[in-house]
């Protein structure tokens, strides 16, 4: 995994190349982000890690037998957590915002519904032969002093 730049205080980026890298590299990237951002709560970390894991897993699973590059970006602002990916894989199917969870016995198909449940906004575009995902989650507003 290659860091794209020197991280700023709000903007963290990396590139995942798979194979050989896996979704574990996305988790390791996030661990580095949390080390620098102790202000991000446990609940926020759980949501961001789950969203990012689902996004990167989809990229890898949708492109078997080929190498993909997936740029990963996490922005931490006082009001929002923004997760973005940009990948070189095939065009992903258009997401269905109102898709239900699959039936209980299904072993697949819960990734995107989970993302929608954890996010406030989900946007997918196919642009210049890349899938661009932008997922936003509002941060809890601290109570007034």
């Amino acid at each position: 995994m290659k860091p794209l730049n020197r991280p700023s205080q709000t903007d963290y980026q990396a590139v995942i190349r798979s194979p050989p890298e896996t979704v574990d590299d996305a988790h390791d990237f996030l661990s580095g982000v949390w080390d620098q951002r102790p202000d991000v709560s446990s609940a926020e970390r759980m949501a961001v890690e789950t969203i990012l894991s689902e996004l990167v897993t989809n990229v890898i699973q949708n492109n078997p037998h080929r190498e993909i590059f997936c740029d990963v970006r996490v922005q931490v602002t006082p009001t929002q957590l923004i997760i973005e990916t940009s990948d070189t894989g095939d065009e992903a199917p258009a997401p269905q915002p109102d898709a239900d969870m699959p039936e209980h016995h299904a072993e697949h198909g819960r990734g995107l519904p989970l993302i929608y449940l954890l996010a406030d906004e989900v946007d997918h575009r196919w642009q210049e032969s890349r899938n661009l995902w932008r997922v936003t989650r509002a941060r809890a507003v601290p109570p007034p002093q």
Partner: protein, 110 residues
């Protein structure tokens, strides 16, 4: 590679998952359960005490493992899930199918 299996009592095997349960390790869990069922273990507990994270791939592996155990006439339960694992189970409504128990010892106490 398989996860280690301990014997809780002669009827109950405990599969101890360590680290992340995601697309990298989902197959490992399913294979471990298939091997355990083939070896005659009908009641299995997936001990998630040391599992740090689970996504939908990991959840899919748990569902596959449950199906494997039930197809053989047995059952499979989960224990020791952390907050993130519980969140995924609840959001997906799978906590009703894979009811989380606090400890492996309590999973088949009923």
């Amino acid at each position: 590679m398989s996860y280690p299996i301990d014997e809780l009592d002669p009827d109950v095997g405990v599969i101890r998952v360590d680290g992340r349960l995601n697309m990298v390790t989902a197959g490992q869990l399913k294979d471990t359960v298939i091997e355990a069922v083939a070896a005659g273990r009908q009641r299995l507990v997936i001990d998630l005490t040391k599992a740090t994270f689970m996504d939908s791939s990991g959840l899919g592996a748990l569902i596959g493992a449950l199906k494997t155990a039930r197809a053989a006439g047995g059952d499979l339960r989960i224990a020791g899930a952390n907050e993130q694992v519980l969140m995924v189970l609840q959001l997906s409504n799978m906590d009703r199918i894979l009811r989380p128990y606090e400890t492996p010892e309590s999973a088949f106490a009923d």
